[in-house]
């Protein structure tokens, strides 16, 4: 019965980070099983971005460990981080495309700079990535000439062209309308299956994340206060989860209170 639990691809334990004495992360932990789509939820300012930046080595955590494929990524361990970077891609909230390069050049950039492939191979693989994301018609356009959704796809093409095992998404749906949010999540889910990478999505869109993810985690006050499958999340009675998940209901009752207040105040002479 007790099947051996496969080792998670990414294992984060007890991450601490504070800025000027103000703690943003205080012991955040997360396990990302291989092949899963894991969503990290949390309200704005809960430390989601900082959490992700620690993973990307843009920020250095004060304490805690990050293990990738069983290997410890220590501070200053250049070789381990280089290996991690080779096998992992990062998708920025702002896409971070280079506006002086065409779509094709953008996609080719990581291959051209980090691999010893020949120009022909690079072109072939880049074009293939563009084709898979249905962007091959726009190969010579600059990012500024593409729509928001196409830019997102282009950023994803650049992320997957190195054939990573892990892709980290930083708020891929920030500032999008509900229809586009759905489209982005279905795009992530689709390509995640298609290319077989493991995905970590940081977001605050609860309903979409619950539908699309294999696992969800909730970050609150620097700590993961929930980690599990979406069904458990929906059923959880934890206070924070409840607040976050059922914010609509809370909004309803607040509004009702305000209306009552208004009614009572306007009733007063």
């Amino acid at each position: 019965m007790a099947a051996p639990v496969p080792e998670p691809l990414l294992q984060i334990e007890g991450l601490h980070k504070s800025f000027d004495g103000h703690a943003v992360l205080s012991g955040a932990s997360l396990a990302v099983p291989r092949g899963c789509l894991v969503s990290v939820l949390g309200r704005s300012g809960a430390g989601k971005s900082v959490f992700l930046k620690c993973l990307a080595d843009v920020l250095r955590p004060d304490a805690g460990t990050i293990r990738f494929d069983g290997r410890l990524l220590g501070a200053g361990d250049v070789e381990a981080w280089a290996d991690f970077r080779r096998r992992c891609s990062f998708l920025f909230q702002s896409n971070a495309l280079f506006d002086s390069l065409t779509a094709l050049e953008n996609v080719a950039l990581p291959l051209e700079q980090t691999t010893g492939l020949s120009g022909k191979e690079i072109d072939g693989r880049s074009l293939e990535a563009l084709r898979q994301l249905e962007l091959d018609a726009h190969r010579d356009r600059y990012p500024g000439q593409l729509s928001g959704g196409m830019q997102k796809r282009l950023a994803l093409a650049r992320a997957i062209v190195t054939r990573p095992e892990l892709v980290l998404f930083d708020e891929p749906t920030a500032g999008l309308d509900p229809l586009r949010r759905n489209a982005v999540f279905s795009m992530i889910a689709k390509y995640q299956r298609q290319f077989g990478f493991t995905a970590v999505v940081v977001t605050h869109d609860v309903p979409e994340a619950l539908v699309a993810s294999d696992r969800v985690a909730l970050l609150d006050q620097g700590r993961m206060c929930f980690e599990g499958v979406p069904a458990d999340f929906s059923a959880s009675n934890d206070g924070v989860v409840h607040d976050f998940r059922d914010s609509i209901a809370a909004l309803g009752s607040t509004l009702a209170a305000i209306r009552r207040g208004e009614a009572s105040s306007s009733a007063d002479p």
Partner: protein
């Protein structure tokens, strides 16, 4: 009082060290970078071809004015024949390298600082790092290498055009025999002067493009402002510091080399 002096001294020393590290890191990173020649080309285009008109125009006017003013002054002593000496030595020793560097700061340096600042702001630099690409090698090193080549070339063009400008105002406007002018030019300038001119140009190039990259690259380090304000603040700082540095470095080089 003493504490303020001490604190400022320390912060200046720290900033200088930081800048030196920045330059060193960029050059070291350049060694292993792929396709860097292509990016040097692009930087050469921005610093070279794009700035050529302004260099030629400013050089021409500098020569014209020098010729005019020099002629009036020398005329009082009856030695108009020395006009070529005056124009060529001022251009080759001082005005060529300094003015060309200032023009290049205005046109290429400011653009560079703003571009890097925006790339920092829109996480493009962070994106490079997460791809495992050194942003020093990809963004900074090509510009520095290009500046070492482009600045001396621009300065040479500036000086040449300036000499022609001096000849124009001397011979066409004021009736000086142009042969007298050119022979004075050839007699006055020595290989030592020309060497000094190119040394200055290369040093100015490295310092100004280095400073502009440094400030743009570190736009996020500015604590008092963020976003677009940070980019504008870092661009301003880059241009102002570059201009001051050009003049200060000019003084230092002149006093040590001559």
């Amino acid at each position: 009082m003493l504490r303020i002096v001490g604190r400022n001294t320390l912060s200046i020393v720290q900033a200088l060290g930081d800048f030196a590290l920045f330059l060193g890191r960029s050059f070291r990173a350049a060694a292993g970078s792929r396709k860097i020649v292509r990016r040097i080309m692009r930087a050469g285009f921005e610093q070279g071809v794009r700035c050529l008109p302004v260099i030629l125009i400013v050089g021409m006017f500098t020569g014209l004015v020098l010729g005019l003013q020099g002629y009036y002054v020398l005329n009082k002593f009856g030695s108009e024949g020395l006009l070529g000496t005056l124009v060529s030595l001022s251009l080759v020793r001082e005005m060529g390298p300094v003015l060309a560097a200032l023009m290049l700061v205005g046109q290429a340096g400011s653009a560079l600082a703003a571009e890097l600042g925006i790339q920092r702001n829109s996480e493009q630099i962070a994106a490079l790092e997460t791809m495992g690409v050194s942003s020093y090698a990809y963004l900074v090193a090509p510009r520095l290498i290009a500046s070492l080549i482009v600045y001396p070339l621009q300065t040479a063009l500036f000086v040449t055009v300036g000499l022609v400008g001096g000849a124009l105002s001397g011979s066409v406007l004021l009736g000086l025999e142009s042969g007298v002018y050119w022979s004075a030019v050839e007699r006055a300038v020595e290989s030592q002067d020309v060497r000094e001119c190119f040394t200055k140009a290369a040093v100015f190039g490295l310092l100004t493009i280095g400073l502009c990259s440094y400030h743009g690259f570190n736009a996020h380090r500015n604590r008092s402002s963020t976003g677009a304000r940070a980019v504008s603040a870092s661009t301003t700082r880059a241009v102002v510091q570059s201009c001051i540095t050009v003049l200060a470095a000019d003084y230092v080089i002149t006093s040590f080399l001559v």
